[in-house]
Amino acid sequence: MTQTLLVPTAEDIRANATFDALMWGLARPGLVQTLAFPGMLALAESLLDRECTFFCCDEALKEGIAATGAQAVPIAEAEYVFISLENGLQFSDLSDLLVGNLLYPDASATIFAPAVIGGATGSGTRLRLSGPGVNGSLDIAIGGVDPSFWALRSKAARYPLGWDLYLTDGDRLVGFPRSTEIEVL
């Protein structure tokens, strides 16, 4: 190897910055992370390739994600799920999502969905988060997600089984790992 320093390509820069937001999103649930490269596709590109399965109900996005080599599959088999949580009809299948098993709780789904992310006092469903990554507790308001979703989430998660969730709003992203306890206020 030469002694010169290696520098990142544009693709490296995009993927590294995006992953930073994804990582801190799960490490600090409910804290808003900034996406340097907004858009669901950038999120997908930093994580997915031919070794992954995904589900996406948006045709244009689906095509973009498929170009990473990831395989489109029915929602019940998907490791990465790109979906809208805006109304109950569209997430009626969420009870079938992969939640892992006791030997491999990581064999589970990650959901990506658009939302309206408010602060502690914003409009939308007001949530109180606690658990790993949260210093004490944290309040956040989430709009654009059917309020009944949160009850469905707590029913699906039997820790360590469960799925992890990311919500995006333009260049803003928040994460909700399965370890987070969410109280609807």
């Binding site: 030469t2 290696l6 994804l22 801190w24 098993n101």
Partner: protein, 304 residues
């Protein structure tokens, strides 16, 4: 699709050494590790240009995290300039263009073998610990498949039993480093072979810790503000190494984890194990403007 869409122009080495597909896998696994604190996520663990057992797990995590704007510190048994730490740091610099530092307070990413620095880590810092054996149950169950079932069932009875047997046989728990600890009340993990002195630093820490075993191909993590509780019996307290009253012969610092240096006359002298923390003290005594960080321990006692 054409052949050239499947591949890309030839390059001797990718940025960060690992190619994109290796990095994506690392990212996916790191996210799962954070989502399930203390659970060992299996991963493929690519070969890297240092030998297995020399920090390849930590290295793969660090390579995935680094950007040219990152500042990275590498320590081995507390020292920045030991053989392995300096070789890893040189390699990281070369493949990532990240800036190197010896100062804990300056670093974004700290890759460490067997120590947590004495200065408190912050919310924006990541500690990457190298892990030789990720399985706290190995001494009671060498079969990995069986051990996995035990973790699945949160069946830690046998582990408690061995700790208890140590108590009965020796009057105290003989576990030196790698003290098994319960994370988020669900998974028992090894904190890696850090001394008992360092384990309490992980409890409700502000920083993110990622622990990676390259040879054994497992990653686990402790997110910020997560409970990490060493396995102890209610009536037998957790005991850290007895270093509170030792003084470093070089820097004069007292109350931190020390390396014992045997002397010709049969006695021992001590030097502070977190080498750069000692250096900072010496430089300060010599009049240089040096900022010392807040420490986990004060006068040999844990700050709570």
């Amino acid at each position: 699709m054409k052949l050239d869409q499947l591949t890309k122009p030839w390059e001797a080495f990718s940025y960060g050494f690992l190619d994109q597909s290796a990095k994506r896998e690392m990212r996916r696994r790191i996210l799962k590790a954070i989502a399930i604190p203390g659970y060992q996520v299996p991963y493929a663990s690519r070969e890297v240009p240092i030998a297995r057992g020399w920090g390849t797990g930590g290295l793969q995590v660090t390579l995935t995290l680094l950007k040219p704007s990152s500042v990275v510190k590498v320590i081995d048994q507390g020292a920045d300039d030991s053989v392995n730490a300096s070789s890893i740091r040189k390699f990281l610099r070369r493949v990532s263009s990240a800036r190197e530092t010896l100062d804990t307070m300056e670093a974004d990413v700290i890759q460490s073998r067997h120590r947590i620095p004495e200065e408190k880590l912050r919310e924006d810092q990541i500690l990457v610990l190298q892990v030789p054996n990720p399985e706290p149950l190995r001494p009671v169950q060498p079969d990995m498949s069986e051990a996995r079932i035990m973790h699945g069932d949160a069946d830690y009875g046998q582990l408690w039993l061995t700790l208890y047997e140590q108590l009965v046989r020796s009057g105290r728990i003989m576990q030196g480093s790698s003290y098994p600890s319960m994370v988020n009340g669900r998974h028992v993990m090894t904190p890696s072979p850090i001394p008992r002195w360092d384990v309490p630093k992980m409890h409700m820490a502000a920083n993110l810790t990622i622990l990676s075993a390259g040879r054994e191909k497992r990653i686990h993590a402790v997110p910020p503000y997560t409970r990490v509780e060493p396995l102890v019996f209610d009536d037998v307290p957790y005991r850290i190494e007895d270093h509170a009253d030792k003084t470093c012969y070089r820097s004069g610092v007292t109350g931190f984890f020390m390396n014992e240096l045997p002397q010709d006359d049969g006695s021992s002298s001590f030097e502070v194990s977190d080498s750069q923390y000692g250096v900072k003290h010496i430089r300060r005594q010599e009049g240089e403007p040096v900022t010392l960080g807040e420490t986990y321990y004060r006068e040999g006692r844990l700050e709570r």
